[in-house]
Amino acid sequence: MSGMLRTLVGAVLAGGLLMAAPVAHAQVESGPWTSYSPTFTVQERGCGDVADLTFRLTCSTASGDQRAERRYATYTGGTRQFEGSFRITSLGGTRISLKQTFNDSTPGPYFMLAVERGGRLYAVHGGATVATGATVGATVRVNTVHAVGSQHRTYINGSLRHTYASPGGSFYDKFGAYRTNSGQGPATVVWSGIRFWRK
């Protein structure tokens, strides 16, 4: 009977939640935001391998161009939001870049979020620790809000972890698995829930 009651209560709660959820997605920060779907190209270099949203570096080579990434379309001006979650399913190596905001004007990787063995997330430029806890199997949510010409903010699991002044110009998003200058594979990273907004 207790189980029946809990089932009933659960059904009522579920109904309430369904009614309270008008959208299937949730952009963060104040809007209004417009959802959009930028085009992308897949980049495989060296021992990089991409299968849909699974990105692998299959070798432990500590030199050369080893990358498995999606490179999204260039944007100029305005404010852009990226949301995605990654799950490292295997990490034999270390210092693997997971997400980049690339400055197409300079050009160069303007912001690069990477993981060290053990799950420390850090900003490659400057080396600041962004977060810990990106251990194998853990799903980590990443939101970046980029106001071009003003500021680039990185949220890890909902918390602001990195703020970076932004120049003007043209930029693009990249994510996947990419060997940093001091890193090496192998690594397998699965991304999910990729969404983009602009305002």
């Binding site: 920060e29 500590a62 295997s90 034999g92 918390s159 192998p186």
Partner: protein, 226 residues
């Protein structure tokens, strides 16, 4: 005319049991600043751990914030995204853990480039047959093989069915508690861990886990930054 009374009594009795259990699991979320949330809940007796999770929509994909010990009843979620909805829940988890294995790694830090780490990929086998929720499910066995100065291959027998997955838990030398070093899929029976510098001497165990009761979903909307 007399039927509603026993039904009401049964419902009341059920509520005394069921509602009481729900009450113990009650979760509250409080904005302690415009962009900081404090969670407080009542732990479920008998759980081996708890998972604190959040989402930005109530029926969205919940993301794990932390695996916490069974007696922990609070969590601080700081520096949140402003003007954003946050939904929280805490789930207990249960399941048998293996005996512990002590590992002392060789000195050094470099990972040999010649090692392709194929051994480290999680290996999944056929599901076991013993219900993980059964009292006589037994314990997983566990063995550890040192592969290099930072790498340990763990192997165990997957004798369970119905598990949510496996947790590889580590307690570095001198630490008081185990923490989750890796969260693995169901039916995994082998996995290579690349360790942290603090884990040269550490104790490990593997746990087949499943979720127990969840709290209510608690909600807050953050405000503007100062």
């Amino acid at each position: 005319m007399s039927r509603p009374v026993p039904v009401l009594v049964l419902l009341l009795a059920a509520c005394l049991v069921g509602c009481g259990q729900e009450e113990r699991q009650r979760l509250t979320a409080t904005l302690t600043s415009p962009t900081d949330v404090s969670l407080v809940w009542e732990a479920e007796p008998g759980a081996v751990g708890q998972v604190v999770e959040y989402a930005n929509v109530p029926d969205g994909d919940y993301t794990v914030l932390e695996f916490v010990p069974p007696d922990r009843t609070s969590y601080e979620h700081p520096d949140l995204i402003p003007q954003t909805e946050f939904y929280y829940r805490v789930r207990s988890f249960h399941g048998p853990a293996s005996a512990t294995v002590d590992v002392t790694l060789p000195p050094g830090d470099e990972v040999p480039e010649s090692d392709g780490h194929a051994w480290a990929e999680p290996v999944t086998g056929p599901s076991g047959a013993s219900p993980v929720r059964s009292a006589d499910a037994g314990l997983p066995d566990l063995s550890a093989e040192i592969k290099h100065a930072n790498g340990i291959l763990f192997t165990w027998t997957d004798r369970f069915e119905g598990e949510e997955g496996y947790l590889l838990e580590v307690r570095p030398s001198g630490a008081a508690h185990f923490s989750v070093a890796a969260q693995l899929d169901p039916d995994v029976r082998s996995f290579g861990l690349i360790t942290l510098p603090t884990e040269k001497n550490a104790t490990y165990r593997v746990r087949a886990y499943y979720y127990g009761a969840a709290t209510n979903v608690a909600h807050q909307k953050t405000g503007d930054t100062a």
